[in-house]
Amino acid sequence: MTIEVKNLVKKFGTFAALDGVDLKVDNGELVALLGPSGSGKTTLLRIIAGLDWPDSGEVSFNGADALAQGARERHVGFVFQHYALFRHMTVFENVAFGLRVQPRAVRKDEAAIRARVKELLDLVQLDWLADRYPGQLSGGQRQRIALARALAIEPRILLLDEPFGALDAKVRKELRKWLRSLHHEINVTSIFVTHDQEEALEVANRVVVMDKGRIEQIGSPNDVYDNPATAFVHGFIGESIVLPVDVADGAVRLGDRPLALAVDGLSPGASKLFVRRHDMLVGPPGSGAFEGAVQHVRTFGPVQRAEVALFGGETIEIDAPRDRELRTGDRVGLEPRRYRIFAG
């Protein structure tokens, strides 16, 4: 099932939750919607599910208009952050719910329902919990049951809203791997929402980075990390050194120091220079675009993290390999291996 979203706008009062969003998801993809809270990612997911309605724009599944249908007709599996399990039903009945409420004409008989539920509980590896109530399960177990319940109706699309948001770090890591392999197994077109970049980069085939109701970048995990399209993406994904620079007269300046950096294609004015910490190469003084004095060094694992006061007035943290020990007071030259300069 392909999903296509065109120019979607949704306002809550004067706040634009979605401000002209276009997105195409191909059959069998596992896509992450990544962004800070308030970026509109959950609103987008709910509109695709039919739980919310846009002010304008289009949503289509395999080319057919989806907005003409309610949540009930769309045949979409939805997994909520806080599970939304039916607390008065056993795990078994929770999973069977979607099968039991089908119109009589297409409803399976009791034996078929039992077999299907058993199959799903096996799939999420929780068949031994069938007779428990949701209140008796751990968070991770509840979320797996919620997923089994959503899959029971053989959804055309699977949507997950911060599925691991309410779980602790260790369980979250396990479930990430599990979700990836599950998707591999059932291969249903899936979109999940997260504010955790590690989760998005690790699980998804494709990442959609959102901010303030707009899509900032769509790309593979590698792509959004290595080639951020905007200042926001660079700052939001991975840790970045951000330096305020000035582009004027064919030169880039930090404070009053000109930097030996190319200016091709940059528009003049106040700008921001983004570098990854590990992309700052350390050399002898005078060897790179920047120069500075080491203030402080901490060593852990394969890297040493040094605080360097740049000549020109900023202090940055860099990660350097341990082949050359840095000491407090050393003067060093720094050359950014990869960097991006964004206007503004």
Binding site: F78, F86, G98, V101, A150, A152
Partner: protein
């Protein structure tokens, strides 16, 4: 622990025991004769029958009120929310007088109803109305917190799994609220059975027709027929006790089913 027990004994257990002991002064035969007299039976029938009818009405109307109070935001919601408690706070005699003057043949509601040939005040319908009035907060206040706790997301979940609105209400919402609804019903029933103050003003108090059991107790007491009074009282006590016990079991069952989150 000791304090709780002694306090409970002084306030509740000792008076109840006294009541039972008093009724033991009667032989089983006398006891039976009092209870099976036409007037007693009719009084008990009026009390229990109308109380159950009123509690049932409260269950339905109370649920609708709760739904509106919890799920909708409308101007004056907080005032309506506060008004629900009025029957709790109002002295029952005041309620009785107010209802009587409202439903009397010349009252604001009584006059139009009389024109339709329906007489409310001084008939069993009047008792029914008074019992509804005093019972409504019990249903609302028991169900309200449970509904507030009920995550609207579970309705969305049911919808996305293909359930119609009706299926969602029947299979998800009502079963989640059922323990609270039954508790509210039982409390409203217990209260209506024991109601005295507001009912006697509007009832007309005709023996065998609109005479409630608590009033019959008072009448017997004023006639110094203490044994008769106690016998009726014991029956009412047993029924209340059974009701409260059922409520208790119901709540325990609901808690076991849904352990604390």
């Amino acid at each position: 622990m000791g304090l709780t027990l002694s306090w409970l004994s002084i306030i509740i257990l000792i008076p109840l025991a006294g009541l039972f002991l008093r009724s033991l002064e009667l032989s089983p035969e006398q006891f039976w004769n009092i209870l099976s007299s036409r007037r007693t039976l009719n009084a008990l029938r009026v009390s229990f029958g109308l109380a159950f009818a009123a509690a049932s009405v409260n269950l339905v109307m109370g649920s609708i009120i709760v739904w509106a109070l919890v799920r909708y935001r409308f101007p004056g919601r907080r005032i309506f929310d506060a008004i629900v408690d009025v029957p709790f706070a109002l002295p029952t005699a005041v309620a009785g007088v107010a209802l009587t003057s409202l439903f009397a043949e010349k009252g604001w509601l009584g006059a139009p109803l009389a024109a339709l040939g329906i007489k409310v005040a001084f008939t069993p319908i009047g008792i029914f109305v008074a019992m509804i009035f005093i019972g409504i907060p019990f249903v609302v206040r028991t169900v309200q917190p449970v509904l507030q706790d009920l995550d609207p997301e579970i309705e969305e979940a049911a919808g996305s799994l293909g359930a119609s609105r009706l299926q969602t209400i029947r299979r998800v919402i009502l079963p989640s609220l059922a323990p609270a609804l039954l508790t509210g019903l039982a409390l409203a029933f217990a209260r209506a059975v024991g109601e005295y103050g507001s009912v006697i003003f509007i009832a007309g108090n005709l023996p065998n027709v609109s005479e409630i059991a608590p009033l019959l107790i008072v009448i017997r007491l004023s006639e110094f027929r203490y044994a008769d009074a106690t016998a009726i009282a014991v029956v009412m006590l047993v029924v209340s006790f059974v009701t409260i016990f059922a409520v208790n079991r119901l709540q325990r069952w609901a808690q076991n089913r849904v352990p604390a989150r």
